[in-house]
């Protein structure tokens, strides 16, 4: 029988149905032995209550981030004019982080403009590192 084509709708519907008290299934996963041991140690150090919770949470976080990425890309495809620029992303990142650069939008703008010349796929975090470098240079 032919497998159905995966759809975004199904992914979102399943994630929205996730509930800590919902039905569960047991499944086995082939994983590197060292990873399993590292997980045991991390749980012992307080990462999570047990290895199962840690695994489920990590998988859930990854799926949520992936689903949100799909949603954002679909949103930008439908409305290209709302896609934030690198400058806007760097400004948002600075504000989220409580970074003093947040009150220096001109410096963020300059950093974003300069960095793409040699790193076309620069991220907001790359811009903030670069902007911090510019500021240090100016203060030296």
């Amino acid at each position: 029988m032919k497998r159905p084509v995966p759809r975004d709708e199904d992914l979102f519907a399943l994630l929205d149905r996730l509930d800590a008290h919902g039905p569960t299934v047991v499944s086995s996963v082939r994983q590197p032995a060292a990873l399993k041991e590292a997980l045991k140690v991390a749980v012992g150090l307080g990462l999570d209550a047990n290895a199962n919770d840690a695994t489920v949470q990590a998988l859930r976080d990854r799926l949520e981030a992936f689903a949100q990425r799909r949603a954002l890309d679909a949103h930008y495809a439908a409305h290209p004019e709302v896609r934030p620029s690198l400058v806007e992303l760097a400004q948002a990142a600075a504000e989220l982080d409580g970074d003093p650069l947040a009150i220096e939008p001109a410096l963020i703008h300059r950093a974003a403009t300069e960095i793409v010349a040699f790193r076309p796929r620069a991220t907001a975090d790359d811009v903030l590192v670069y902007a911090a470098g510019l500021r240090s240079q100016a203060n030296a």
Binding site: E64, A67, Q68, A71, H75, E88, L89
Partner: protein, 143 residues
């Protein structure tokens, strides 16, 4: 040294802005969601985006409504319910800060969430007053 937030709390206008592609702050609100997503997808600690259920009521965010589909998907915001103990704390915060019921629940959710916290709001005056009443690193971001 700065630290990325572990939690982003959506206040009224953040929700309104994300919900409406024609809202004048839609793009700015999206910037914060985009940064959170990029960071969560890059082997960093995931950033939780949360919304107090009272705020959903105030903004008319019915997750089952077809019109809310895009907001549900792009925000991936998790509902934070108001239990009895949380209601007591929100009542205390409301009384001490002289703010609305819903704003008090935003502060209560911020207080109970993983730190650091960022609150996306257009009501930064009230939120700063509330942030001063709760412990931990709480950043009020004016949308």
């Amino acid at each position: 040294m700065t630290t990325p937030p572990a939690t982003i709390v959506l206040d009224n206008e953040a929700i309104q802005a994300l919900a409406d592609v024609h809202h004048r702050k839609h793009r700015r609100a999206l910037s914060f969601i985009e940064v959170a997503n990029q960071r969560s997808g890059r082997r960093r600690e995931p950033v939780a985006i949360v919304v107090p259920v009272a705020m959903r009521v105030e903004t008319g965010w019915d997750r089952t409504a077809p019109s809310a589909a895009a907001l549900n998907r792009i925000s991936r915001a998790r509902d934070i319910v108001l239990g009895a103990r949380a209601a007591d704390r929100a009542a205390q915060l409301r009384q001490n800060a002289g703010v609305s019921v819903v704003d008090a629940t935003v502060a209560q959710v911020a207080e109970a969430s993983a730190r650091p916290i960022a609150i996306l709001t257009s009501d930064s005056k009230d939120m700063h007053r509330l942030a001063a009443l709760i412990e931990g690193d709480t950043r009020v971001i004016h949308l």
